[in-house]
Amino acid sequence: MSAPYAHLQLAATPTSEHRPLIIALFSVFVVATLVITVWAGRQTKSAADFYAGGRQFTAFQNGLAVSGDYMSAASFLGIAGAIALFGYDGFLYSIGFLVAWLVALLLVAEPLRNSGRYTMGDVLAYRMRQRPVRTAAGTSTIVVSIFYLLAQMAGAGVLVSLLLGITSDAGKVLIVALVGVLMIVYVTIGGMKGTTWVQMVKAVLLIAGTVLITFLILLKFNFNLSDLLGTAAKNSGKGSAFLEPGLKYGKTGTSKLDFISLGIALVLGTAGLPHILIRFYTVPTAKAARKSVNWAIGIIGAFYLMTIVLGFGAAALLKPGDIIASNPAGNTAAPLAALEIGGGSGSNGGAILLAVISAVAFATILAVVAGLTLASSSSFAHDIYANVIRKGKATEQEEVRAARWATVFIGAVAIVLGAFARDLNVAGLVALAFAVAASANLPTILYSLFWKRFTTQGALWSIYGGLTTAVVLVLFSPVVSGNPKTSMFKGVDFHWFPLENPGLISIPVGFLLGLIGSLLSKEEPDAGKYAELEVKSLTGVGAH
């Protein structure tokens, strides 16, 4: 458990001399986003403003914000790091994360925009008995978001303290608390409008920073990708195997199954992530939702293409030992590559680039945690408080007030978890969030929209069954115990499920339970409600 910290001192060395510059850039970002938040907060009056940013964003703006919401620290630092350490196998993440958007584009984004209002639960509960299904939808929204949030907070604490060169435990807790407080401020004051602007700013910064580093790395290799790959392979010490699949997942039959499981969870998870789904409510029409997905596919695709250069560039420029020494998971490979390409440790160019990339990483984490907090507090206020506890009788003001309090509560929970859980395996948590989303949410979304015979019982079996299966399998997987190096709890072993990712089992279970639950249901599906949902989802009649 102490392994990641034993090396912090090492990594802090190149950083500490430029700390004032990094802190200055962080501060500029924080001040700018706070100004935006206060400005957005002044315009946030109705529930539609708070939950959906007034539905006035353009397709391009929302496409940027969707990208900002989606490209988390896991995709920026995690993928570059995974490529730098494992070569080609790291690139496999990028592909799954991108292809997944087609599920959202072809099947989910437009019908959701047409038939829902503020939350994922609006669509899941539309045809069903409201209270049980809203409770289930709220529960799975909060569980998925908290897992995702926990991963970001755990990453934020380690990463930002690493980049700032803070090594004391108190300092790290302070950073996690700072991130948590900022996120509470963004969401409570700015609502969806403020959060959306923060995500847009972050997306622009992230793309600009990535383009800059990619360009400089390519320049160094005279824009010859083959040379870059060759140097990376040679420098990694693994030769051409570094450029082929299998270094990370190809070792045993089980790890190959794990890879299939991960691949399925990635491709089916995106369209079930509540914080992504609620973004489609911020545009006026389904057509605009479609266009924002197209923008997002273009932006995210371009970004993931650049991660190839970033990751292999880091492998070509740095010694593998240095990457691992700085962070065993490779999370600091991109910033280290920036430092190196700018002229190395001690140079001004290196210092500036490192500061820029660090500020971008910080912006990335803040924007993503704000989106996740908004998704879970919206679902609590709209699904659970307004429709279950108050049975639909809460006024708009009461609902928004509940959402703000929920934000403070969830933010506080995230700070506590983030402060005490800094050693958790970040990648495992993100993959778990995708697997839970694909197991608990996606089946019910698809059945609700496209299957006439789907019933309340089917929805409940699918949501709770998919959720429980995914969470239980992870609990008894090597992510939690049994692996002396990477498990959350070291020194104990109660695992019996061999895979790290539960998707291979839990996603089919989610779909099957929805099917069986509906077929065995004594209750007839509500044909009138299905007519409403189907006609609305395809035409947008009466859409908000």
Partner: protein
């Protein structure tokens, strides 16, 4: 509360008139709507199956066909990299293809139904 028309929340979220449930049932049974549904499903469902199969093929080849994926095409560029980049390309193409199809075939049909229902309501 099964057939209440709008959800009961109050608010100033501007919303167009909501037709009654019977109207939705009637439209859902109409030939015009059946045509819209067919047009969407005929395109979206097979394409979804196709891109997931194409993606799974890539995952399975990466796992079980290392020799083929490691085959170098030119310089240090191997089949695995080209295959991966092809996934990017097909994703971009499918997104573009769907949007063109939706604008040409789906939007006019759904607009027609929507404007008639909202005018009647």
């Amino acid at each position: 509360m099964a057939t209440d028309v709008p959800p009961p929340e109050g608010g100033i979220d501007t919303r167009p008139a909501q037709p009654p449930t019977e109207k939705f049932v009637e439209v859902q049974a109409s030939e015009e709507f059946a045509e819209l549904r067919r047009t969407h499903r005929r395109f979206a469902f097979p394409l979804t199956v196709a891109f997931i199969a194409w993606y799974l093929l890539y995952v399975l080849l990466s796992n079980y066909a290392g020799g083929f994926m490691g085959h170098k095409l030119f310089g240090n560029i191997n089949v695995a990299l080209v295959f991966g980049l092809a996934q990017f390309l097909t994703t971009f193409l499918i997104a573009w293809f769907y949007s063109r199809y939706a604008a040409a075939k789906l939007d006019p049909r759904s607009e027609a139904i929507k404007s008639r229902m909202e005018a009647d309501a």
